[in-house]
């Protein structure tokens, strides 16, 4: 995947002749500057989006309707975008799932307030209709599993519901009959999102059901208790022998789901949104390597237990980055020599190539194009 920040759908691709002439006279950033001066979110390549609507979705979740400029490529349900907001002069980027089917050029994201979270709190407290945000291109392939006409088991934990809800709602919007069930965990009962919408879908689609789990409230008949267990998995596999399983949530939840369902007939599709707790592998013994930065001519020392991005930031560098979890590719940078290892997939890169700084660590002294 190319960098999600560069668009193959930018102004130069859409209007090559006009852009060719304009581009000979002004730079990309001048174009973006003047567009904004005239109150437009048009841009050369970057994707800006104006906030169209804001509404609460459960106690802690804010849904934001966004109208992106024309550089935004069409999004598919189950995908995510990186959202950048300016806080204290800094553009801060986080990944959020698209939460409602795209309609009329608009997309929605739903942001849960995280305790101590810089971006989520800023969005909840300060974002207003009419504000402008920057988006990446949509990414993620959760919807790949939808093509087959099989029963579907959806597993959502916490804000993982956003991508899952979009997958379900999009199918209904296309007029397809839903078949299967959604199992949805929340820590507090007031946090359940899309309640009315999901209940309406259950009414309209008799073969589809929703089961909400909340272990904090055992008294209510509305909510079940229990965790994603071997027994539960066995029941689901028995009920939907050819079913596909879709999971979205924190990495612990998705990791557990992956173990339980990886052999399922219809395929297992998942997206985890919090970074792995620690970079895995055999990192018991800490080792130190030299990283030479060819552009700046500097050399820094990094620990084998630290991601290259963290190590670079500790040394005062600010390499471009996005999701910090190895999916958006924004931090991808050239490696000239040495060996690094992607902790997400275990892949080792020897010699020249492209390395994703946020999830990779050094296995030897390396040279990076920074």
């Amino acid at each position: 995947m190319a960098s999600v920040f560069s668009s193959s759908n930018g102004f130069p691709e859409r209007m090559p002749r006009v852009a060719g002439m304009l581009g000979a006279l002004i730079s990309e950033s001048q174009f973006d500057f003047w567009a904004r001066e005239f109150g437009s979110i048009t841009a050369w390549r970057r994707v800006f989006a104006r906030v169209q609507s804001l509404h609460m979705e459960g106690a802690e979740t804010l849904s934001i309707g966004l109208r992106p400029n024309r550089n935004f490529q069409s999004a598919v349900a189950g995908q995510h975008v990186n959202v950048s907001v300016e806080i204290g002069g800094r553009l801060c980027t986080r990944s959020y799932s698209l939460s409602r089917p795209a309609e009329g050029g608009c997309v929605s994201i739903s942001v849960r307030r995280e305790p101590g979270g810089l971006v989520s709190n800023h969005i909840h407290d300060h974002l207003q209709v009419g504000d402008v945000l920057e988006l990446s291109q949509p990414y993620g392939g959760l919807s790949e599993g939808l093509a087959e006409a099989r029963a579907q088991v959806f597993l959502a934990a916490g804000s993982g519901i956003t991508a899952i809800y979009n997958l379900i709602a999009e199918q209904a919007r296309r007029g397809e009959a839903l078949r299967g069930e959604l199992l949805y965990w929340e820590k507090q009962v007031d946090r359940f999102c899309f309640t009315e919408e999901l209940d309406a879908l259950c009414q309209a689609h008799p073969q589809f059901s929703v089961k909400r789990f909340c272990n904090a409230d055992a008294s209510s008949s509305l909510y079940s208790t229990g965790r994603l267990s071997t027994e539960l998995a066995a029941q689901l596999c028995e009920r939907y022998p050819n079913g596909s399983v879709f999971a979205c949530g924190g990495s612990a939840f998705v990791g557990a789901a992956r173990e339980l369902f990886s052999g399922v007939v219809g395929g297992f599709y998942a997206e985890a949104f919090s970074p792995p707790q620690r970079l895995g592998g055999d990192v018991a013994e800490e080792r130190f390597f030299e990283v030479s930065l060819t552009r700046s001519g500097q050399t820094i020392t990094v620990s084998s237990q630290q991601s290259l991005l963290d190590a670079l930031e500790d040394a005062g560098h600010r390499p471009p980055h996005g999701c910090r979890m190895g999916i958006c590719n924004s931090c991808s940078c050239g490696q000239r020599s040495g060996e690094s290892q992607n902790q997400l997939n275990g892949e080792q890169l020897r010699g020249a190539g492209s390395v994703r700084l946020c999830v990779s660590r050094a296995n030897s002294n390396i040279e990076l194009d920074i």
Binding site: L25, S27, S29, F33, E37, G89
Partner: protein, 366 residues
């Protein structure tokens, strides 16, 4: 250790040197910790001013048959180019505004409005000049391979004509900057191959062509019958920018008290020694706020060399404390008015075109 050409600063003992380095470090750390919304507001406001100046300047040149419009348009465009190159481009490329995470202001990818490529600049300036400031043989900015400015540079009869070279360099300064990294001297001496030069010329030619077409073909063509007024306005605006940047930049390291160093200073150079070398090799210009902005805050060359990644508009306030630190350690803080400092630069160019003897070496540190 190293040599100094002037004796206005006291040689520091090892402990004093460490303490000096710590004091300067502390000043820098406090500034960096405070970087944020204020700096972002500053650079955004400056970019807005610069953009409006450029548009109004270019607009006025379209009606440049009316002489006052031509003069005002040319000056506005010249100043806009100065702001873009100096207070915006140069500082952005140092990564001073990387903290904003704005792709348009990312130091590693910013491309400035000048014939030279930003990539060449990042190599010759950010890396070589800033790491090896005023070290003979390592910092190409010492005379730009063209001029003899220090008696420590070996004399050659061709330097007799260097006043003429200097005037040409001032008039064509953006071209000097553009070809600096090509190191044509090495090609002439056979230490660099023609194919390598050809490879390096390709991106430079691409950038140069874009700049030339923009200022001398496309914008003039847009003006239709007034082709020549726009063409001449752009030419003079570029000239104004060349002369101004030459003057400011030459005042940064070539005044009478600026020192040049031998390679040996790098042996086991400590943080304190590095700071000391930046201080002794650089010189400031006094002036008002507007003057500082127009110089891209290179009027605070000393602060810029000590704190190249701190947003430059902070140098004025940082200089108060830095001067106090210099006083505490009896170090000369080289500053003066533009006429005074530039006069010294002109004198150096004239004086050292003739043979001159290096002064007695004095230690940088005890």
């Amino acid at each position: 250790m190293s040599v100094v050409s002037q004796g206005k600063s006291r040689a520091l003992g090892p402990e004093e040197l460490t303490a000096f380095g710590e004091d300067v470090d502390a000043l820098q750390k406090r500034a960096i910790a405070d970087v944020g919304a204020r700096d972002a507001r500053y650079i955004r406001r400056l970019i807005r001013v610069q953009q409006y100046m450029e548009v109004v300047g270019r607009g006025l040149l379209f009606i440049g048959v009316f002489p006052p419009a031509w003069v005002l348009g040319t000056v506005l465009l010249g100043v806009a180019k100065i702001l873009e190159n100096m207070e915006i481009g140069h500082n952005v490329m140092h990564g001073q505004y990387d903290f904003m995470n704005d792709p348009a202001l990312r130091g590693a990818t910013y491309e400035w409005d000048i014939v030279g490529t930003s990539d060449n600049w990042r190599e010759s300036h950010n890396y070589k000049h800033h790491s090896y400031t005023n070290i003979k043989g390592l910092d190409d900015d010492v005379g730009y391979g063209l001029l003899r400015l220090f008696p420590e540079q070996r004399w050659h009869f061709s330097y007799l004509f260097q006043s003429v070279f200097a005037v040409l360099l001032a008039l064509l300064f953006q071209w000097g900057v553009a070809i600096q990294e090509l190191q044509l001297g090495k090609v002439a001496k056979g230490r660099k191959s023609w194919p390598q030069l050809k490879d390096e010329l390709r991106p430079l030619w691409k950038k140069t062509r874009r700049q030339l077409l923009k200022d001398y073909v496309f914008f003039p063509l847009l003006a239709g019958p007034f082709f020549l007024t726009v063409f001449s306005g752009n030419l003079v605006a570029n000239l104004i920018r060349n002369l101004w940047t030459f003057m400011i930049i030459f005042c940064g390291h070539f005044t009478a008290d600026a020192e040049v160093f031998e390679r040996s200073v790098l042996d086991n150079e400590t943080r304190g020694q590095w700071y000391l070398r930046q201080l002794r090799g650089s010189s400031n210009l006094g002036g008002g706020k507007l003057f500082h902005i127009l110089s891209g805050n290179l009027s605070h060359q000393i602060e810029h060399h000590m704190f190249p990644t701190v947003p430059a508009h902070r140098y004025a306030e940082m200089s108060v404390e830095l001067r106090a630190i210099c006083q505490k350690y009896d170090q000369h803080y080289n500053t003066g008015s533009l006429p005074r400092q530039f006069g010294q630069v002109v004198w150096r160019i004239l004086r050292h075109s003739f043979p001159s003897a290096a002064p007695m070496p004095r230690p940088l540190v005890q």
